[in-house]
């Protein structure tokens, strides 16, 4: 073992891409003893110490006045387990809390849990088969009842009860929840589970009060009055709610953390559009915070220049990317287009796919269209940083694309369009109606034109494109086009669910009503195999390496072309101190928001 590799490993521990345990294991394999390895870490300053993932909360007292928040999509329901879409999840989160939430650096932050389970504190079993959560003591529901392990056990029962129809049911399959005592709960998994922090964590994990929902744990779940008048444990309690319009809340005087919450009241106003929301904060300062500003950066910068507010950019795993169809959208097999029994006549040639990747000018798209809201990326899996592949490159080179196509035998024919064996390089490129996307489409179209590829642009209104309507031919999951572009969201700090988008059993087809997540319909045996391996791999370093390999396989095939990362962009007034996270709801730590005097 050379000094260089050792330094490299220590560097990775410091950057967070290698866990301390992983380090000790590796170094031990190389002949160093474990205590020596931890010593090494302590000496170089990579020891646990103060890994502060959440900014310090400064206010010494309450009474901070009103907090006004603007959501340009209004919420309609306040039951977190029925929430479809971020707005309802966020609004519910004002009142309800999970055992733990995800901080923006991808680490867990305890909320209703007394501590985060780990092998060291006995919370995690070394075989990956169970997690024991210790609950915080002295927490009360807004109606004065005590919060206990019964509520946690009930939440799991409620969510996975098919008669309830909860949207979070997926997080509670294949596990068993046991009450150990009034303040301890154990989650037992059927299989070794490296990613154990799904149930009771973050958006899918908010705990609901058993004493109010017990009578609605069945087909009558939608009739519960608490669906619209929530009673939670959160820092703010319910005042009034007009679905599709305004939600009002006031400070919870019995909150379980000292000096919190800071604000007396919270108002969440819904409606409008992203640009006017940005104006309402940055230009006119009518509101304190505006959510999800999908606005061209040029506009945000000019609004920011007025000096009243600032734009918050939180980097997560969302990525805007192009898919090149593996199947033929123009051939019907038993009434199904883009059927997996077909092959795309042009994209089955790797040379065409490589040329397409060379024709996407990511630097310009990032610089001139998305700005701070979209750094260019060669990778599909970008965050957390330990999963980011160093092996992929991005290049924009029309001349090389031409050269590759020439060499592969695609000759220019009528109108300068390349063709080979009767197949013309003429593609339909679809995306949703959205100004930056239409700009991107035009930039790609022009570059393709210079390489003898004709692209017909198609736009579909977003509510259709992203719907799961089985009857509509224009949804992105049907993919009845040669190419398409959209953003895929990464909702957890672990890439397992994100990377299942390319496994063969997730292929979107009529058989599964186009609900499969593999929309590009790509199949690769190696990918399937290492995905299965990663599902059961408990060593975090090896697991990260498997996900990096998956990223390299799919990106290297050029069937998908990543364009830009899409961090979460929001606006707040200069004196507001929001605590945001890319891996959890906007409201995940509303208790810690405050305003500087």
């Amino acid at each position: 073992m050379t000094e260089e590799t050792l330094r490299d490993l220590i560097g990775r521990v410091k950057r967070g891409s290698l866990s301390r345990r992983g380090f000790v294991k590796r170094v031990a394999a190389l002949g160093l003893t474990a205590p020596m390895a931890t010593q090494l870490l302590a000496v170089t300053g990579a020891a646990p110490a103060a890994a502060q993932s959440v900014p310090a909360y400064a206010p010494a007292r309450r009474g901070g006045g009103a907090l006004r928040i603007l959501y340009w999509q209004a919420s309609t329901l306040l039951n977190p387990h029925f929430a479809v879409g971020t707005t309802n999840q966020d609004s519910s989160r004002v009142f309800y809390e999970p055992l733990a939430g995800w901080a923006t650096d991808g680490t867990l932050h305890p909320i209703l849990a007394a501590e985060i389970p780990s092998v060291e504190n006995g919370g995690l079993s070394p075989d990956g088969r169970s997690v024991t959560w210790k609950l915080k003591r002295g927490v009360k529901w807004h109606d004065g009842q005590d919060f206990s392990a019964d509520d946690v056990v009930f939440t799991a029962e409620y969510s996975r009860n098919p008669a309830v129809g909860a949207t979070t049911s997926g997080s509670y399959q294949g596990l068993n929840v046991v009450k150990v005592d009034d303040h301890t709960v154990r989650v037992e998994f059927e299989r070794p589970t490296p990613f154990w922090a799904d149930a009771f964590v973050a958006t899918a994990g908010v705990i609901i009060p058993r004493h109010l929902f017990a009578n609605f744990n069945g087909p009558n779940s939608r009739d519960a009055p608490t669906n619209l008048r929530p009673v939670g444990t959160g820092a703010y309690r319910f005042v009034s709610f007009a679905p599709g319009d305004t939600l009002r809340a006031e400070a919870n005087p019995n909150y379980h953390l000292p000096n919190r919450p800071f604000f007396d009241t919270v108002e969440i106003k819904g409606g409008g559009d992203a640009v006017s929301a940005a104006r309402a904060v940055l230009q006119t300062a009518d509101f304190d915070y505006a959510w999800n500003l999908q606005v061209e950066d040029e506009i945000l910068q000019r609004l920011e220049a007025t000096g009243r507010g600032r734009v918050n950019i939180v980097e997560g795993g969302n990525v805007e990317f192009i898919q090149l169809n593996t199947t033929d959208p123009n051939v019907e097999v038993n009434g199904e287009r883009s059927s997996i029994t077909t092959q795309h006549p042009a994209f089955r040639d790797p040379a065409v796919r490589q040329a397409m990747a060379l024709l996407v000018d990511r630097e310009s798209i990032s610089r001139f269209i998305y700005g701070r809201g979209g750094p260019a990326t060669p990778n599909f899996l970008n965050n957390p940083p330990r999963f980011r592949s160093p092996n992929m490159r991005m290049e924009f080179n029309v001349a090389r694309a031409n050269e590759i196509l020439d060499r592969a035998g695609w000759a220019r024919g009528q109108g300068g369009i390349r063709q080979k064996d009767g197949v013309r390089l003429r593609f339909v490129f679809q995306t949703s109606v959205n100004a930056p996307r239409q700009r991107t489409q035009q930039i790609i179209r022009q570059a393709a034109q210079r390489a003898g590829i004709e692209i017909e642009l198609k736009t579909v209104t977003a509510s259709v494109f992203f719907s799961s309507d089985v009857a509509n031919p224009d949804t992105f999951t049907k993919f009845y086009a040669d190419m398409q572009m959209y953003t895929t969201t990464m909702t957890q700090a672990d890439p397992q669910r994100f990377m299942n988008q390319y496994v063969s059993w997730e292929i979107s087809s009529r058989a599964n009503s186009w609900q499969g997540r593999n929309v590009v319909r790509w199949r690769n045996e190696e990918y399937d195999r290492i995905f299965r391996e990663a599902e059961g791999e408990l060593d975090p370093v090896k697991r990260a390496a498997l996900f990096i390999r998956m990223n390299d396989l799919i990106v290297g095939s050029n069937h998908i072309i990543p364009i830009v990362q899409r961090p979460l962009v929001s606006a707040s007034l200069n004196n507001l101190r929001p605590v945001l996270s890319a891996w959890d709801s906007t409201m995940w730590l509303l208790s810690d928001w405050w305003r500087e005097a």
């Binding site: 640009v275 606005v295 061209e296 040029e298 506009i299 000019r302 310009s364 610089r367 001139f368 269209i369 949703s432 109606v433 100004a435 239409q438 700009r439 489409q441 035009q442 930039i443 179209r445 022009q446 017909e456 642009l457 198609k458 736009t459 579909v460 209104t461 509509n472 031919p473 224009d474």
Partner: protein, 273 residues
């Protein structure tokens, strides 16, 4: 007269303009983005550095063609339906007015979505994306704007056919066709022409609504409505981008309205000279 000149100028400009001003409409140049008017780009550039003059000229062809063609469809259908109803009366009239009411009560947007969903692909396959969408839009916009015209014509017919000069013509033995073509129709055209001019404007705007929903022309075809739509978010720091297409729509609609007024005066047989 002035408005006729302005309209003529606009039509000529979009017809001949692209031959004279040969800057390509889709040349992307990031070093020249969002520039104001200059000699190189007389109307400035948009956020991709594309020349706005070239885009407005090109888009004008489409917008004007859509406007006029849709207006022609609406007027033709409206006048025929209105005239038949107005002359025939009785059951035919009642049936035709039911039809008109039916069309008026149809929700326009869902139907549009349905029609485009059903026919877009097949039509695009036959005549290409640009022409296919053009035909669809013209038929749809025209097909949904004829009802007011039909009612207008019918009402005019009802009042005119009882007028003394029509009575006189009938007494002189004029046939029904001659009554309609020579005496009643010309006299009823005044309001129709005004309605027609409003229809052109409505058609131009309807086209931009469709583009807005992603159902109109492909996004790289710069119709005036699409230019305005793209420009709206940049209004406060790149006003030229929205002003010029907006001005083009404004001038077109205004001059067409004035021309309509003038035509009505010219056609009005009862006008005292």
């Amino acid at each position: 007269m002035v408005s006729l000149c302005v309209l003529g100028f606009l039509v000529l400009a979009v017809l001949i303009g692209p031959l004279v001003w040969t800057v390509p409409i889709d040349e992307i140049d990031f070093s020249k983005r969002l520039q104001g008017p200059s000699w190189e780009h007389p109307l400035g550039t948009d956020d991709l550095g594309q020349d706005l003059l070239a885009r407005i000229l090109y888009g004008g062809r489409i917008s004007l063609a859509v406007g006029f063609a849709a207006m022609a469809v609406a007027i033709l259908v409206g006048v025929i339906v209105g005239a038949i109803a107005g002359m025939a009366g009785g059951r035919v009239d009642a049936a035709l007015m039911w039809l008109t009411d039916l069309f008026l009560s149809l929700p326009e947007l869902p139907l549009l979505l349905l029609i485009i969903y059903l026919f877009r692909d097949s039509l695009v396959g036959i005549v290409g994306p640009e022409m296919g969408v053009f035909i669809l839009i013209v038929l749809i916009i025209g097909g949904f704007r004829w009802m007011p015209v039909a009612r207008l014509v019918r009402a005019q017919f009802f009042s005119l056919r009882e007028k003394e000069f029509v009575e006189a013509a009938r007494a002189l033995g004029a046939t029904r066709t001659r009554l309609v073509m020579v005496h009643i129709l010309p006299n009823s055209l005044g309001p129709v022409l005004v309605a027609a001019t409003i229809d052109i404007a409505a058609a131009i705007i309807a086209e931009s609504t469709l583009s807005f929903l992603g159902l109109g022309f492909p996004p790289d075809i710069p119709t005036w409505g699409r230019l305005l739509f793209d420009a709206k978010d940049n209004l406060d720091f790149a006003p030229h981008w929205a002003i010029f297409p907006g001005l083009a729509i404004f001038l077109t609609v205004l001059s067409i309205n004035f021309v309509g007024d003038g035509l009505r005066d010219a056609f009005d047989p009862r006008r005292v000279k």
